[in-house]
Each structure stands twice: as structure tokens, then as C-alpha cells.
């Protein structure tokens, strides 16, 4: 199963890599998109802040210009200076006072000054519109001095008066007649910033919980906060930050920095601030917003981004995992299926191997069993696999056949051996298996149970032995019988012929010596005795010949029957030259057999034919070959006396005769002899005949 896991791990690695890359890509995209958003957002925030700051600064500028316009209206205004002159001449002149009041009140009311006062050159209050200057401003004397000295309008700064309130004074020197005239006094346009300016500065058009505009200026080594603050009260002109605290945007603004900075505000909060000087003034406007607030949507956005991309990463991971799992499932399913198929096919083979009645085994190169299967094991009392791990050389060291066969198999030779273990006979094949180098790495063996085969073989062998034994017995019996027959023949030839010869001899002696004492009939009787003894002698000779035929050894050769027949015919013609016989002998008839015996056959048949045609005027005798039922068949045909086919079977028995001796003399031995010889050659002989129409004798050889 190793490679399955390996593949799984490889797949997993690929999937993890894909996941990792896609996650990195997503994170990069997320970060970039977030950065982009952040930048955009920041720009937007800065844009908001800066437009806000623009607005404030321009309004402040306008505000200051308006103040200056107001101031300049009085500066070098001869009408007003004339009026002030008149007032100075008579401060109690009601008309003058009324005129002065109208002038001043107009400005005080419309231009939202807290107070418009006319001071003398020493700073003493001469005339005021608005709330009386009940509380002295210690700085006012300096303002008066400055503007009288410089003969110009002095735009003052926020300053705390003795009543604790903050005012801003614009001082206008009033001169008699022209500029170089004597100073008459100073007109002070006092602004209460709380009434208009501070609220205005504080007014924000931004929908923000932290947006704030600060007005600061340098004051010695500090930055002085000029206006009231959103988050702490009573800060104006009280709150100071040393110039060394550079992390404060206010400090940076005062030190000349323009534009956006991030830093800590007076609360210590991180803020984004727009810094710019208010033109023609010592003031610096700081428009700031808490970074926290600015970043709040960013955080939301970040959260969203993180969530979104997290989700994306998660889903891609989940997708990949799902995909991987499906892949794995598919893989494992196919693995399982092929494993199942393999298992099934293995099962099948195992089933075959386990059930065929043989023993299948295998050993390693040392002869240690690595496999033993098969039904044949039952007969050895072994379970499948039981001997696995054991050495064949230990287990079967008592079987030299196995040892030898195994050794030659390990030497690379196929071997075969028959071995008997526990009464079971095995035919065992040993086949060596080689590696690429031709070294024997294992031996596969197949032991076939041949017990039943062996048993039947043994039975057959036993039967054969018995049969041979019986044949030997029979042969011995036959030989004994043959010996007996030989002895018998011998006896017959000696013992029967001797007395017969005696009878014949002494009869002859009787006839010769006592002829004169015998009458004619007596002589005839003796002659009858003589002929009978001769006939009996012939019979005995014929019988002996017949028995000899069965005993003589056959020597088979290729024989030309035509030549033999010709020589027989020649002899017959010579012996009885008186007869006219037409012989027709087919030339070149070859056969295989014993030449002497076949000559006896042909002699008998031809002599018979010759004999039985003797009463025909024209005898015709034929020797030839034909084919009967696919076998070459020789025949001797004559046109002689023939015989009744009904007796054809008796014809070949010894001493069987078809004709009277007086007609055709014979012993009845000839055809018996012929049959004996033909049978000894494994052939057949038979005859066809009709009375007075001749006979045909057929014979085959093997």
C-alpha cells in the first residue's frame, strides 16, 4: 500500500502548494486592495480636511481683512479724526458724542465687535461703545504705544484681560489731519472671540466626532493655543506645548511645516492634521481629525477585507480540500476497485492453485520455501503455507531424489523427479527462475500426485508380468507339447513305418518265394496288402510333413511367386508330358514370406489343379493376383472337376477328400498343408468352385 500513500502525499503536497499560492495571492490582493482603499480613503480624508482647512483659513483671512478694512476706515479718516478732535476739545459736547457714538456703534453692531473704544494717547478710555471697559487690560498700553510709534494699525492678538476673558484688539492710531499730524488717540476695536471667532473656528462642516480646528501661534518657546478647544475647556491662551515636542502637529506647524502630518494632539491622541499658516498673521491653523476616527471605516474595511479574503481563502481551501478529498475518494475507490479486481483475480488463481490436486511450491535461492499451495498438500498432512520459511534441504534430507533434483534446479537445470512421501507418489518438476544476470533467484516446483496413475501403472506392470508369466507358461506348455508332438512324430515315423515296412516286405517275400503255391486270388490279396501298405506309408509321410510344417522355423523374404510357379509348372509338364495343359502365370507377383513354405503352397495348389483338370480335354490353369476387399489376393484357377461349394469349408481339413480315390488319388493332406502355411503367414485361404466347372483357390499373405 506504500505507493498509494506516496501518491496521496504527493497529491496533498500539490494541493497544499496550490492552496498556499492561492492564499498568498489572495492575501496580496487583499493587502493591495486594502492599501489602495486605505490610500484612497486617506486621500479622501485629507481632501476633506484640507478643504475644510482651506475654508477656515480663507474665512479667517477674510475675517482679518474685514477687520483691517474696518480699522483702515478709521485710519487716515479726516472726518473721524476731525470728530475725535472735536470730542477731545469738548468731551461733553452731546452732539459730538452722538456723532461719535453713531460711528462707533455702527461698527460695533454690524461688525460684531465686543467693544469699540476711543483711548487717549496714554491708553485712557475716552469713549466706548458696547460694554464699558470695566476691567483693565494691561496690554492695552503697549498696543497704544506701538500703534502711535509705528503710526499704523496694530492688529493685536488674543490676550487675556484682567476679567479673565480673552480679547483681540485692533488698534488704530488717530492723527489730526494727515498722517504726520499729532496723535489724537487710539481707536481700539475689541473682538470677543467667544462671540464669533471661536464658535466659527470650532464650527465644523464635517460629520465627525473628532474633527477640530485649532488656531495657534508661537509664544516664546511654546506653542500657544489660541482658541477654545473641543475636548478641553478653558484652553485658549492657557494651553501651551513646548516647541520641543515635535510629535505635536501644532509644534510642527509653528516650526513651518505645511501640509499633512500625523502626530499626537493635545490629548495625546493620534491625529491626522492639516497644517497651514494663516496669511498675514502669526497664526497657524491646524485642522485635525483623530486617526482612530479616520481609520474606523478603514478598520471596518479591513475587517471586511480580512473577512472577505479570509472567506475567499477559506473557501478556496475548502474547495481544494473538497476537490482533493473527492480526488482521494475517486483514487481510493479506483484503488479499491482495482485492488478488489486484483484480489478477485488473485482469489481465482489462488482458488485454482489451492484446488488442483497438485502441490505448487516455490523456494528462494537457498532452498527455503516461500510458497506451498494446492490440494495435494492434504495428502501430506500439510496446511497451505505451513512449510514456508523452512528449508527443503532440512525437510526432505532423507529423500535423495529431492535433494539431487533441487540441487540441479538451483544450479540452473530443470529437473524432474518421482518421489514417494507418505505413500503418495509425486511427479515433481523443478524449474529455476533467473534474474537479469542469469543467477538462480528461486525455484518453482509442481508436484503432481500420480499415485493412482502409479497404482494403475503398477497394476498394469503386474498384469504384464502375470501375462508374460502366463505366456511363458503357455509357451513352455506349447514347447512341451511341441516336443511331445516331435517325439510322437518321431515315434510314428519309426514305429509305425517299421511294422508297415515289415508287412510290405514280408508280403513281397511271400509273393516272390511262394507264388507257385498261391492261386491267382491269393496273389491278388497279397498285392492288395502291398498297395494298402504303400498307401498307409504315404498317409504317414503326409501327416509327418504336415506336422513338420508347423514346427519348422519361418524365414520371411521377398519372394517372386511367379518364378516359383513357373518352376513348378515346368516340373509338372516334364513329369507328365502327355497332357495338354494351358498355364497362364502372371509375371512378377511379389510377396513376403518363407520361400520354401510358399513353394509348398503353390506346388500343392498347382498340382491339385493339374490333377483335377486331368479329365478335361483342354485344361487351363491360371495363377494371378487380384484385389479383394482392399487386400492383394493371389489365386490359382482351373477349369477342372470342381466341387460343390457347400463343402468348401471341409476342404482344408486333414484327410478330407472331395473325390473318390479311384477318380483322383490323393491323401487329403495337401490343402490342410496349404492352410497351415497360409495361416502361419497370417493370411487366409478359401475356395470357390462349381462341380465340373472348375475351382479357384484364393489366398492372401498378411
Amino acid at each position: 500500500m506504500d505507493h498509494y500513500d506516496k501518491k496521496g502525499r504527493r497529491d496533498l503536497t500539490v494541493y497544499l502548494l496550490v492552496f498556499f499560492l492561492s492564499a498568498v495571492a489572495l492575501i496580496v490582493v487583499g493587502v493591495l486592495s486594502y492599501r489602495n482603499f486605505e490610500t484612497e480613503f486617506r486621500k479622501q480624508a485629507e481632501h476633506q480636511i484640507s478643504s475644510f482647512a482651506d475654508l477656515k483659513v480663507s474665512e479667517l483671512e477674510v475675517w482679518r481683512k474685514e477687520r483691517m478694512v474696518d480699522a483702515e476706515f478709521f485710519f487716515h479718516n479726516q472726518a473721524f479724526s476731525g470728530l475725535v478732535e472735536l470730542f477731545l476739545e469738548d468731551p461733553d459736547d452731546a452732539e459730538v458724542r452722538a456723532q461719535l457714538f453713531t460711528w462707533l456703534e455702527h461698527y460695533q453692531t454690524f461688525d460684531q465687535y465686543d467693544q469699540v473704544s476711543l483711548l487717549d494717547v496714554n491708553g485712557g478710555e475716552l469713549f466706548s461703545v458696547g460694554p464699558p471697559m470695566s476691567v483693565k487690560d494691561p496690554g492695552i498700553a503697549d498696543d497704544v504705544d506701538d500703534c502711535l510709534r509705528f503710526k499704523d494699525i496694530q492688529f493685536g492678538d488674543f490676550r487675556r484681560a484682567l476679567d479673565g476673558k480673552i480679547y483681540l484688539n485692533i488698534s488704530v492710531p488717530i492723527f489730526r489731519g494727515q498722517v504726520n499730524g499729532n496723535p489724537l488717540g487710539v481707536l481700539v476695536l475689541r473682538v470677543d472671540p467667544k462671540k464669533y471667532l471661536y464658535p466659527y473656528i470650532q464650527t465644523t462642516i464635517l460629520d465627525s466626532s473628532s474633527a477640530e480646528t485649532l488656531l495657534v501661534r508661537q509664544d516664546g518657546e511654546d506653542v500657544l493655543f489660541l482658541n477654545e478647544l473641543r475636548f478641553i475647556s478653558n484652553a485658549s491662551l492657557n494651553l501651551r506645548i513646548p516647541l520641543t515636542d515635535l510629535e505635536h502637529p501644532a509644534v510642527q506647524a509653528v516650526l513651518g511645516k505645511v501640509g499633512f502630518v500625523e502626530g499626537l494632539d493635545y490629548r495625546g491622541e493620534e491625529v491626522l492634521a492639516d497644517l497651514r499658516p494663516v496669511p498675514n498673521s502669526p497664526w497657524y491653523l491646524i485642522s485635525k481629525m483623530d486617526v482612530a476616527e479616520i481609520h474606523a471605516p478603514l478598520r471596518i474595511r479591513l475587517r471586511q477585507t480580512v473577512t472577505l479574503f479570509g472567506l475567499a481563502i477559506f473557501s478556496s481551501g475548502a474547495l481544494l480540500i473538497t476537490f482533493w478529498r473527492q480526488q482521494r475518494i475517486r483514487f481510493y475507490r479506483s484503488q479499491a476497485e482495482s485492488a478488489l479486481a486484483l484480489h478477485e483475480s488473485e482469489e481465482r488463481y489462488r482458488w485454482v492453485i489451492s484446488n488442483i490436486p497438485v502441490v505448487t511450491f516455490a523456494t528462494d535461492e537457498k532452498g527455503i520455501f516461500t510458497l506451498s499451495e494446492g490440494k495435494g498438500l492434504d495428502k501430506l498432512g500439510l496446511r497451505p503455507g505451513q512449510i514456508v520459511g523452512e528449508s527443503i534441504f532440512d525437510l526432505y534430507r532423507d529423500s535423495p531424489g529431492i535433494m539431487d533434483a533441487m540441487r540441479s534446479a538451483l544450479a540452473g537445470q530443470e529437473a524432474r523427479d518421482e518421489v514417494t512421501i507418505k505413500d503418495v507418489h509425486f511427479d515433481v518438476f523443478y524449474t529455476p527462475l533467473f534474474d537479469q544476470n542469469g543467477k538462480v533467484v528461486r525455484v518453482i516446483g509442481l508436484a503432481n500426485d500420480v499415485t493412482s496413475h502409479k497404482i494403475s501403472e503398477d497394476n498394469i506392470r503386474q498384469l504384464n508380468l502375470e501375462l508374460e508369466h502366463r505366456v511363458r507358461e503357455r509357451t513352455a506348455q506349447f514347447e512341451a507339447a511341441n516336443k511331445e508332438l516331435e517325439a510322437f512324430s518321431y515315434s510314428v515315423s519309426h514305429d509305425l513305418r517299421a511294422p508297415l515296412r515289415g508287412i510290405n516286405g514280408w508280403s513281397q517275400a511271400l509273393l516272390e518265394d511262394y507264388q507257385d503255391k498261391l492261386d491267382e486270388q491269393g496273389v491278388q490279396y497279397i498285392q492288395r496288402v502291398l498297395s494298402e501298405t504303400r498307401r498307409m506309408g504315404n498317409l504317414i509321410d503326409g501327416m509327418l510333413n504336415l506336422s513338420r510344417l508347423t514346427r519348422t522355423e519361418m524365414v520371411k523374404k521377398d519372394v517372386n511367386l511367379s518364378v516359383i510357379a513357373e518352376s513348378i509348372v515346368e516340373r509338372l509338364k516334364r513329369d507328365i508330358s502327355s497332357r495338354e495343359v494351358e498355364f497362364m502365370i502372371e509375371p512378377g507377383l511379389m510377396a513376403r514370406g518363407d520361400p520354401n513354405l510358399l513353394e509348398v503352397v503353390l506346388a500343392n495348389l498347382l498340382e491339385n489343379a493339374f490333377k483335377f483338370t486331368s479329365k478335361k480335354a483342354r485344361s487351363r490353369i491360371e495363377f494371378g493376383r487380384t484385389e479383394i476387399q482392399g487386400s492383394p489376393t493371389f489365386y490359382v484357377k482351373d477349369n477342372g472337376a470342381g466341387f460343390d461349394s457347400a463343402y468348401a469349408q471341409k476342404l482344408f481339413g486333414a484327410f478330407q477328400r472331395m473325390h473318390k480315390n479311384s477318380e483322383f488319388p490323393g491323401t487329403g493332406i495337401g490343402l490342410a498343408t496349404v492352410q497351415r502355411i497360409i495361416h502361419r503367414h497370417g493370411g487366409a485361404v478359401w475356395a470357390e468352385a462349381k462341380v465340373e466347372e472348375g475351382a479357384t483357390f484364393y489366398f492372401t499373405l498378411e
Binding site: 516331435e486 513305418r497 517299421a498 508297415l500 515289415g502 510290405n504 516286405g505 514280408w506 501298405t533 513338420r548
Partner: protein
Amino acid sequence: MKIKKILLVEDNPSDIGLTRRALEKSHVANDLVVVEDGQEALDYLFGASQPAGLQVTELPALILLDLKLPKVDGLEVLRRIRSDPNLYRLPVVVLTTSTEEQDIVQSYHLGANSYIRKPVDFTQFVEAIQHLGLYWLLLNEPAPRVTQGS
């Protein structure tokens, strides 16, 4: 010149008579000495006994030997004759009833000069004896006898 003797070894009296008759009819004038078994024949030939009319030193000119004999059979007699330095040149004609091939083969193997089958027909028998006597006793020149005395 002495009349040459013929030794007939034959146990059958009828055959002895017929042979004697046949010899007479053939005008073979020799003396016929008859012994009736193989042992007698050997005794005669080796001089152990002396049948009437026979001197020890006088050996027959021809031996007519039957095969089937009491005591010692014809083939044995023939073997003994042929293995004796004094007797082995004697013409021996096997005269028997048997035409058994093995008898013929054995006889010639042991050194028979002729093998004659006694025919049943006496006329033929006489003819055979006539030829026999004519050939062996008249025509045939016997080997010179080295050991013969005066």
C-alpha cells in the same frame, strides 16, 4: 582277397531279415554281421567281444547303422566311431525309418557318409540296398588301412 564284411546294427528282427533278403536279392555277396544294439556294435568294433565268424582285427567294410537302438543309440555309436583313430575312416551309412530333419542333420554332423531312409515299399528298399552295396562295396575305394596286419 577276403570278402568284405558288412556290419548291420539293427534291433528290429523283421528289418534284419528284410535287409538280409534285400542284400541277397541285390547280389551283394559280403558277409553280413548283425548286432542288435549300440553297445554290441561298439563291443564288436572295439574288440571287447567277438561275435562268431569275426576276428578282432577284421573291421567291416561298411556299417549300416540304425538310429533307434536299445542301450546306446545310433548317433552315439557314430560319434564313438568317428572319435576313434582306428575307426574314424569306416564308411557309415545311416539306414533308418526316420526322415526327421534333426536326425539327418545330426547324422551328417557326426560324420555319416550317407543317410538312407528305409522305404515302406520293399521293392524300393531292395533298390536302395542294391545302390548302396554297389556304391560302397564295389565303386568306392576305401582309405588305405594303416594299422592292418597280414
